[in-house]
Chain length 331, copies 2
DNA sequence: TTGTATGCGTTATCAA
DNA sequence: TTGATAACGCATACAA
C-alpha cells in the first residue's frame, strides 16, 4: 500500500515535518516557493494524509453511525441511501449497524458507535425499545444524535419524521371516499411513536366523517408472518371489514401474503391501502394504494441536520423536529 | 463523552501506563493482583480503549469497506445484511459506499476506501466498469479485496459468486418443461460477468433441448424504466415470444411494469421467470417464478473470506472462488 | 513484575 | 519563513 507520510516528504525535500504539514494545509506562513515544491512532490508520490492520525489528533473520526432495525427493508435502505448521498458530499463516511429490532442489540450497538468514536449518530429505534435510559445517557454526554421515523418520547432532541398523523388521515379518508365503512387498521406494536401517530390520524379521519371507531377493527401486529396470518384471519372471520389500512412495509407484505394464501369471499373485495415504500406496490396481485414516506429525503434531512450540528460544535443548534409530508398514491 | 484514558487509570492507581496497558490486555507478565485492580477500576470508570489510537498504533482500522452499485436494491441490501452479520461478530465494522453504477464513482470510492485505511474491501462492480486498472493497482498494493456477484475477469483473486450458468440453465429448462418454445432472454449489459454466464446457461439449456438459439430473442437492457419499455415493446411486437426470462431485480421490476402498462393479447399468456431476489415475487399480478440468489449467504461468505485473509496476514491464503447454488422457486 | 521511553502520523506551540 | 518538540492514546522494546 501507498504509505507515504509527511516525514517522507520532509526527508526527500530536506525540510522539516512541520513545514511540509503547513505547506500542505496552505498555511500563510509558508513561502509560495516551498509550498509549490511540497505540493508538487506530494502529488508526484501520491501522498494522502492518514485519516487515522488526523482523527487521533483532532479527536474526530469523520464517520457517522447509522443504526436501523433492518438494512434489508425498502424503507430503511432508501433512508440510508439519502444519508449516504449527503454524508459523502461532506466527506463523512457512513457506518451502518442493525438492531434486528432487539433492545439488547440497540444498547450494545450504541455503545459500539460511541466507543468507535463516531462523530454522531442517526438512529431509528428498535421495536422492543420502551426504555430510553441508554438514549438519555448518550445524550447527556452531549453526543450528537438525530432520530428518525421511530423516535423516542423525548422533547429536547433532533428528530426527522414524516407526518404520520396526516398520512394516516389521508389514507383513511381516501378509503371513506371510496365508500368504505368498516376500515380495519393493522399496525405496528403500540410502543412505537409512528404507531400512535398513525392511529390518531386514522381515528380522526373516521370521526370527522361520522364513522364510529370500532376498537375491534384496530389490530396491533408483530412482524412475523404468522402474526399477520392470525390477525387477518380473526379480522376477516369475525369483524367483516370492507377495507384494511396496513402500516409498515413488513406488515403489508405479510398481510398480503396472508390474504392471498387464505382467499375467501369476504377477502375478495377488500379495499387495501398500505403505509409502505414497497417498490412493487403497483405490480401486486391486488391494487395497493399507498402512503409513501419520503424515505430518501428523510435520510438527506437527517444527515444534513447532523452535519450542521457537527460543524457548529460550539454554538448550540436549537433542537428541531423536521416533519416531512407523505404522498398518497392511488392505485 | 466518556474520555477516560489509560493514563487516567495509571494516575488514579499510582502505577505506570504500560502496566495498565498490559493488565488490560491480560499480559502474563502482570501480577494477578494488579491485573484485578486495574480491571476493576477500568470497569468502574467505564473505560473503553480508543480505537483510533489503537488503529494508528497497529496500522489497522478494523473496518471493512463495502462497495455496491445501489444499497436500495433487495439483492444488495441482503448481501450487506450478511456481511454485517459476520463482520460484527468479529468486531469489524462495515462502511458502506455506493457507486450508482458509475465507473468514475467506483474509482473514487475505492480511492476513498484505501485512503481511509479500511483493512479490506468487498465489492460488486459497477455497470460501467470495463477497465480494470483501478482494480489491478489496488491488488498490486496487496490490498485485500473480495469480489462478489459482478466480478472482474481476473484470475488470481477472491470471488464469491452464485452459479449463474446453472441458475439460468434451470430457469430456461423450467420454461421448456412448461412447453415454452420461444423463450426470450432479457438481461443486463454484456460487460457484466453475470450477464455472460447467464446467457451461456440459457443457450445451453436451449441446445440441450434441441431448441435453436434465436439471437433476436436475446435482449440486453439498461436499468432505466424506458429501456425495458423499448425492449419489451420490440420483443412482443416483432418476436412473439411465448415466455421471457428476465435477469436481475431492477430489470424484472421494469419489465413487469412495461408489460403491465402496455397489455396486449400476446402479453397475456406470457410465461415469466426472473433472476431476482424480490421479496414480493409471490404477490405480483402475474405469477413470477424466480431464480433466487442466496444473497445473505453470499454476504456471509464474502465477509468470512475477507476476515480469513485479514487474520492470516502473513501466510498466504490461496485465491479462491466460492460458488453458491441458486434456488429455483416455481410459482 | 513493573517502569521508562519511543513511535504510529498528524498538527500546533514555541523558538529561532 | 522555518524548525524543533510536544501531544493525541495506545502498545511494546528495553531496562530495571
Amino acid at each position: 500500500m501507498n504509505n507515504i507520510t509527511i516525514k517522507d516528504i520532509a526527508n526527500a525535500l530536506g525540510i522539516s515535518n512541520s513545514t511540509v504539514s503547513r505547506a500542505l494545509r496552505d498555511s500563510h506562513e509558508i513561502s509560495e516557493d516551498t509550498k509549490a515544491k511540497v505540493i508538487a512532490y506530494a502529488k508526484a508520490v501520491n501522498y494522502h494524509p492518514n485519516p487515522i492520525a488526523q482523527s487521533l489528533r483532532e479527536n474526530k473520526s469523520y464517520s457517522i453511525g447509522v443504526i436501523v432495525p433492518e438494512i434489508a427493508n425498502n424503507y430503511f435502505s432508501e433512508v440510508i441511501n439519502g444519508i449516504d448521498s449527503v454524508a459523502s458530499q461532506h466527506d463523512y463516511h457512513v457506518v451502518i449497524y442493525q438492531t434486528h429490532e432487539s433492545y439488547e442489540r440497540e444498547i450494545s450497538t450504541i455503545q459500539h458507535v460511541l466507543s468507535r468514536k463516531a462523530d454522531g449518530l442517526i438512529i431509528s429505534l428498535s421495536l422492543e425499545t420502551n426504555d430510553y435510559s441508554h438514549i438519555h445517557s448518550a445524550m447527556e454526554d452531549n453526543f450528537p444524535i438525530i432520530f428518525f421515523d421511530r423516535v423516542p418520547p423525548i422533547e429536547n432532541c433532533y428528530k426527522v419524521v414524516s407526518d404520520n398523523y396526516e398520512g394516516a388521515y389521508k389514507a383513511t379518508k381516501h378509503m371513506i371516499e371510496k365508500g368504505k365503512k368498516r376500515i380495519a387498521h393493522i399496525t405496528s406494536p403500540p410502543v412505537l411513536s409512528i404507531t400512535k401517530e398513525r392511529l390518531a390520524g386514522y381515528k380522526a379521519a373516521l370521526k370527522d366523517n361520522n364513522i364510529e371507531v370500532d376498537d375491534q377493527l384496530i389490530k396491533y401486529c408483530g412482524f412475523e408472518p404468522k402474526d399477520a396470518f392470525v390477525v387477518i384471519d380473526e379480522l376477516i372471520k369475525n369483524q367483516k371489514p370492507d377495507s384494511i389500512f396496513v402500516c409498515s412495509d413488513r406488515l403489508a407484505l405479510n398481510c398480503l401474503e396472508a390474504i392471498k394464501n387464505n382467499p375467501s369471499e369476504e377477502s375478495k373485495d377488500l379495499g387495501l391501502i398500505g403505509y409502505t415504500n414497497l417498490k412493487t406496490a403497483n405490480l401486486l396481485y391486488t391494487p395497493l394504494s399507498t402512503i409513501r414516506q419520503p424515505a430518501f429525503e428523510m435520510g438527506e434531512k437527517a444527515a444534513e441536520l447532523l452535519i450542521k450540528v457537527l460543524k457548529s460544535k460550539n454554538q448550540i443548534v436549537d433542537f428541531e423536529t423536521i416533519i416531512l409530508k407523505n404522498e398518497l398514491i392511488i392505485r
